[in-house]
Structures are given as structure tokens and as C-alpha cells.
């Protein structure tokens, strides 16, 4: 074995820190799975890890103008509360994430955007899920229909960015993707990094 290969294997070993031993149990939901694995830790000890295998998702901050955004109110079964969030949803198999953002925006609010920019992508629950959420901002909104996703969305609400920030500060908006989206947009805006033609 030549030295470069040994070196490469060494690097691989440094990186692979937790190895699966076996899957103990598994749940198949409609669009994703949850499984509990036994794994070997970097120290040699064994433990159990939960892993949700989740499709990528898109979320979008819809700007009616420079100051006002749309949000959707929906029931969240996992927390047993209704929440105010930016529109979002799972990508269909093979679907481009920007297309997914546009589709979810239309389904949940009835609006179609002229411009969509990517803000940030992140892992929401890195401890037990491989989900990635790509967050977009949309502007140039045109109302195509009244129709909303009645199964999921209780109401579509218009808020100023100022009101949304106040609700976050008061702890009344606590949805991760909504908070990251609004906080990140503000940071980019404060630093002059939102394209000048985004609101034109």
C-alpha cells in the first residue's frame, strides 16, 4: 500500500467517528422514516442514536413590500399549539428547492412571486434528523387565488417586519425556520447584502 493511500485512510478514520452497528427499530411515515440504531462511538463505547431520514425542505419569507410580510397560522400537532410561521414545506422527490418554495407559497397563501432569492440553508435538528431547510425571500407578489391549503393553514396574516421582530422578542414567534429566516434577513439587510433591486 503506498503512503498516500495510507494517509488517505488515516484521514477517513479520523472523520468517521460513529459507526452503525445495527438498526433496532424503524417507523415508515408517508414522506420520511425514523430509525433507532446502535452505534459505536469514537471512544469504542456503544450507544443508541435516533435518525430521522427527511426530505429537504424550503421556507420562504414573502414580502408584500419592503416593510410587510405574509405569515401563515397553522396547527402544529407535535407541540399541540397553533403557530405563526413563514410558508414552508417538504420538497417532492426530485423537486428543485426554489420551485418547492414557490409552490408552497402559492398553496399556502395564493400568491406567486416575481423574485426569489436564497438566504440560508441549515440543519434544524442535527441531533436526530438529516433535514435541511433552505430559506428564501420572495418579492413582487401577485395574488393568483384565494385558495389556501385548507388542511394545514388556518389563516394568512400580514405583519410588518417590525411587528414580527416584536413577536420574536416577546417569545410569541418561536418556530426555528421563521426565526432564522427573519434574523438572517435583518443581518443581511443591516450589512447592505440584500440586492438593491429586490424590492423594485
Amino acid at each position: 500500500m503506498d503512503l498516500s493511500l495510507i494517509e488517505a485512510l488515516g484521514k477517513v478514520n479520523l472523520v468517521i467517528m460513529e459507526e452503525k452497528i445495527r438498526t433496532l427499530s424503524m417507523i415508515f411515515a408517508n414522506h420520511f422514516t425514523a430509525q433507532l440504531d446502535t452505534v459505536k462511538l469514537r471512544t469504542g463505547r456503544t450507544t443508541e442514536r435516533m435518525k430521522i431520514d427527511h426530505p429537504e425542505a424550503a421556507a420562504v419569507i414573502p414580502f408584500l413590500d419592503e416593510e410587510r410580510i405574509l405569515m401563515v397560522r397553522q396547527w402544529r400537532y407535535a407541540i399541540g399549539q397553533d403557530t405563526l410561521e413563514i410558508p414552508a414545506g417538504k420538497a417532492d422527490p426530485g423537486e428543485d428547492l426554489e420551485i418547492c418554495a414557490r409552490r408552497e407559497l402559492l398553496e399556502e397563501t395564493g400568491y406567486e412571486p416575481a423574485r426569489v432569492i436564497h438566504l440560508f440553508s441549515y440543519f434544524p435538528a442535527i441531533g436526530y434528523s438529516n433535514e435541511v431547510i433552505r430559506i428564501y425571500a420572495a418579492s413582487g407578489l401577485k395574488r393568483l387565488s384565494d385558495a389556501q391549503d385548507m388542511d394545514e393553514i388556518a389563516s394568512v396574516e400580514t405583519l410588518s417586519l417590525h411587528e414580527a421582530h416584536d413577536l420574536m422578542l416577546e417569545g410569541r414567534i418561536r418556530d426555528g425556520k421563521t426565526v432564522i429566516g427573519l434574523a438572517w434577513f435583518q443581518l443581511l439587510k443591516d450589512r447592505g447584502k440584500i440586492p438593491s433591486d429586490f424590492f423594485s
Copy 2:
């Protein structure tokens, strides 16, 4: 039945939007469960919902001084990568969340803080998990030990806030709690809302 009770029941009905019909399957992990339920939607249709029942968690941005923070590198089984994150972990049953933040900081970095302030609490994965993460900032760090949680933590790294922001902008820090923590701290700092004695 008096009118105020009817009114109250009306409000309850408006709020309860998804009712559990039955649990189809369930996984018991060490510290939390995953279950798949059949639920009745607000429109009367039925669907399936995954629900992770997860303990509350604490995360903490440890400040060595006004400019430098500690982060930990660890393998994340769910995404098959190592990541750079702020220290964090699940609360033990009955454990106060600020105590949890202090414990995780000590276990993962060997440092004990003089001051801890609460920044923000949020739901990381509202679509399928009831987990709440409380994010703190810590200062006045005193090194108590070299010992780290060797099972979980590969290394403890010192970064400037500027470097951490660059890594986020480059998409090399993509862990949700870390991004929310750093972005939120920056927003509070920009608005003069970090206590003046936090770094003293």
C-alpha cells in the same frame, strides 16, 4: 350552559385543529420517543403525523471575551458529518435549563462561567418534534479541567465572532441552534440589548 362557557368552548374548538385517532407505531430511545399517529385534520380528512417527544435542551455561546467564543467539533450521526457548534445538550429529568447549560459547557469544554444570560427559546423542528431549545450566552469563563466529553466532542475550538459569522455566510456553520444563537446575539448587540456588565 351559560354564554361565557359556550364562548369558551367555541374558542377551544377553534384552537384544537388536529385530533389524534390512534398511534400506529412507536420507538423508545434512551431519552425520548418517536411515534406515528393517525390524526383528524381541521377539514375532517385524516393523515399521519410523526411526533418526537423530546426533553427540553439548552445551548450556550461561551464568550472568552467580547470578541472570542468557544465552539465544539463533534460527529453528527444523523447527517454523517462532523460539525462546529455551540455546546448544547438535553436536560436531565427535572433539571433547570440554565443549570443544564452550565453542565453541558463544563462537560464539553472544561470551562465554568461567572455569568449566564438567556437569549432566546425556540422550537427547532416544529413539524415533527416538541423539542424546545433554550439558548444562553455565558461569560467570565474559568477553566476548571482539561476533561471533555470524549464520547461526543472531537475538539474545542476558539473563534472570533467575526470568523464564526464568516463561516455561517460561507455555509460552513449550518447547525440551527448555533446560527440562531449567533444571529440573535448579534441582533441584540446591534440594538444595545446585551447588558453592559456582561463582558465586565
